[in-house]
């Protein structure tokens, strides 16, 4: 480790301000208010923690993870300790002791928050304490005497409401004049709690609003009730997912149409050849297939952020803790698993908030079992094939896919916690925040940030995978089959129906091309492995091609069967459903369709998720274990489904 010294010349590097506070004190909202400069998310090297960093010409503000205490044995506390000691900095910044420590406390929960303030004061850094949420405190008739508090703490104290913006200017002005505290709080935890109580009694004038507390208590009793709480949770989640799927449909169609237009435009601009095919069929089709899910992901994070800022999500986690305990998980795993229903990648990243390392690992390992949006095209195709013209049965089967995935995930977590991750998990300690009006600005900023992360991490990987898969599917070139040549010859001489004959010739050529390509040859070689599941060469290619991204299955099947990947066309979906195998038997029998459905519910089939698992879990052994377990379970489940349905008929 190298060290640098600075001389007497004026410091040219920006002032570093670290923002510290308990979870749910409005720290990030305050950070967004005071950082008018460029904000980006950066991770701490060697850790799984992220921080929002705002930089401008004269200061760098770091929003540290929310913690209950500095000396706790959690990843978040460790990061805060190391940053405040000058041992760690977000990637891209030089690590040194912050020039200013800004400690944010919740005015409605000051006594509990003061223990962290006490720990922060002991660091002897130039400190400023910000009493936030004064609007909520006023509603509860709690008045904090900031001057008396400043006297007790020995450093400047200002109050504000980051949500409404009241007092923000005072905070910005006070930030330029922090002070090294001249009081020494006790170091022992019990003494620190007594110290907090004494200060609170001295500075706060609580006149609890009976009406407000009664409403909060009533809401809490309903939301955390063992039965009513679960019922409320189910109701909220139903509305949550309904809104996501309903609202996302329009932008998803727009994105789909935009990529279609882009493909058509580039196709018309470039001359026929490999480069045009790579751009249109490889890059645009592949990247478009991923970006199409962005509206659902954006909506999920936006609504999650809104739910969190109302204070409900903490209550939901408390209720779900009881449901998850028997499976060896805690309520902390709830948000990561919920997020995984949009995409496992942000879900796995959200598992950073799970404090128990074994709980966290178990959550990461089972997160891909949750039915993500990439599975939807496959579910739509297969439920449509299984129950044609029966929309209610399709909807039931569709819901069943989600239930089966969640049950498989919970049972897998139970097995992991009883074997490789044995040990008692920590009891969930959670401070229930006050109910608040949702902070739309903070939710929008978080959503924007997450959307960028999704596009950067998943999109770039999908791009590379799409190029490689396209190449494997396009080469080697083969001569057109005799049947296609004859059809083209006929098309050249007939007056009517020439275009139909050309289309048939295209279809035959496309099928032959995929069959003889490297991808096709791999499919033929591996076909015996998937025979017990009822899959032929075409389905084997579909499964193999979708190893990197499961949604690729539908477009691969469309290319193989029809020579076009335009799966939006109803007639093409119908042609896939009625396609035949090489021996003339139906491709999608009920047994094969159920087998495929079970396979796609349980199989990993997502390379970017594997990469993120390896990064977040701390090694490829966990990603390979996840791949092996999920693939094995999917194979077994699909084989059983195929046999059972074949026997029942």
């Amino acid at each position: 480790m190298s060290a640098t010294t600075r001389g007497t010349e004026p410091l040219t590097s920006p002032r570093t301000i670290a923002v510290l506070g308990n979870p749910n004190v409005g720290k990030s909202t305050l950070f967004n208010r005071i950082s008018s400069a460029r904000v980006h998310t950066s991770n701490f090297p060697g850790t799984t923690q992220d921080a929002s960093v705002a930089t401008n010409a004269d200061s760098t503000i770091i929003d540290l993870p929310g913690i209950y205490a500095l000396d706790l044995d959690t990843s978040e506390s460790s990061v805060c300790r190391r940053v405040l000691k000058g041992e760690l900095a977000p990637r891209g910044l030089e690590a040194h002791v912050p020039d200013t420590l800004l400690v944010v406390v919740d005015a409605t929960n000051l006594m509990r928050n003061l223990t962290l303030v006490g720990e922060a004061l002991a660091l002897r850094l130039p400190t400023l304490v910000v009493v936030n949420m004064t609007d909520l405190a006023a509603r509860k008739s709690i008045v904090i005497d900031t001057e008396a508090l400043s006297e007790c703490l020995g450093c400047p104290v200002v109050s504000c409401s980051a949500r409404t913006g009241e007092g923000i200017q005072n905070v910005i002005e006070a930030m330029s004049d922090p002070r090294v505290p001249d009081r020494t709080p006790p170091t022992d935890l019990d003494a620190l709690e007594l110290w907090s109580e004494d200060i609170y009694a001295h500075v706060a004038a609580p006149q609890a609003s009976v009406l407000h507390d009664r409403l909060t208590d009533r809401l809490d009793r309903a939301f955390t009730h063992p039965i009513l709480g679960v019922f409320t949770f189910a109701l909220v989640m139903t509305g949550f997912f309904y809104a996501i799927f309903k609202l996302a449909a329009i932008p998803m169609d727009l994105i789909d149409a935009w990529f279609g237009t882009l493909g058509g435009w580039i196709g018309s601009l470039l001359p026929e050849g490999a480069i045009r095919d790579l751009l249109v069929d490889g890059i645009i089709a592949g990247v478009g297939g991923t970006v199409i899910f962005l509206p659902q992901i954006v909506l999920l994070f936006f609504m999650l952020a809104l739910l969190e800022s109302t204070g409900y999500l903490a209550r939901a986690a408390f209720v779900i803790d009881r449901v998850m305990r028997p499976f060896g998980l805690s309520g902390h795993s709830f948000v990561p698993l919920l997020s995984s229903h949009a995409c496992a990648i942000p879900g796995i990243m959200a598992a950073r908030a799970v404090p128990d390392p074994k709980d966290r690992l178990a959550t990461i390992l089972v997160a891909p079992f949750m039915s993500c949006t990439a599975r939807i095209p496959v579910y739509v195709l297969l439920t449509g094939v299984l129950f044609p013209d029966r929309p209610s049965a399709q909807a039931l089967a569709f819901t069943g896919c989600y239930v089966v995935g969640a049950i498989a995930g919970l049972l897998s977590a139970l097995i992991a916690r009883r074997t490789i991750l044995r040990g008692r998990s920590r009891p969930m300690a959670l401070e229930l925040p006050s109910y608040r009006t949702p902070d739309i600005r903070a939710a929008l900023m978080l959503t924007l940030d997450r959307a960028k992360v999704f596009l950067r991490k998943a999109g770039s990987m999908i791009l590379a995978i799409s190029i490689v898969l396209w190449w494997l599917g396009a080469y080697p070139h083969s001569d057109p089959p005799m049947q296609a040549v004859e059809l083209r010859e006929q098309a050249a001489v007939v007056v009517e129906g020439a275009s139909e004959l050309e289309a048939q010739a295209d279809e035959i050529e496309a099928r032959a091309s995929v069959e003889r390509s490297f991808l096709g040859r791999i499919g033929s070689t591996i076909e015996p492995v998937f025979e017990p599941l009822g899959y032929d060469r075409q389905l084997t290619i579909g499964v193999l091609a979708s190893f990197a991204a499961r949604e690729v299955f539908v477009s691969t099947m469309a290319i193989q069967i029809t020579g076009s990947d335009d799966v939006e066309d109803d007639s093409i979906v119908e042609r896939i459903a009625t396609a035949q195998r090489d021996d003339g038997s139906p491709l999608f029998t009920p047994a094969t369709s159920w087998s495929l459905l079970i396979f796609y519910i349980l199989a990993m089939q997502c390379l970017p998720t594997l990469v993120v698992t390896a990064k977040e879990a701390g090694g490829w052994k966990w990603a390979l274990l996840q791949l092996g377990w999920m693939s094995g379970l999917a194979y077994l489940g699909a084989a059983i489904a195929y046999r059972v349905v074949s026997i029942i008929g």
Binding site: M1, H96, V468, Y475
Partner: protein
């Protein structure tokens, strides 16, 4: 294989580049060392 087609070579190079990038992505990275500034009791020392 269309060895004589220049477009084939371009797309093949792109595929190789994508493959190399994917392999690099999979390979575990070495942890970078962290640079720190020397501080005394939270303040940067002055040069005498």
């Amino acid at each position: 294989m269309p060895w004589g087609d220049w477009q084939f070579w371009i797309v093949t190079l792109a595929a190789i580049g994508a493959l190399v990038w994917l392999v690099k992505l999979f390979k575990p990275r070495k942890k970078r060392s962290v640079r720190t500034s020397l501080t005394i009791e939270g303040d940067r020392p002055t040069r005498r």
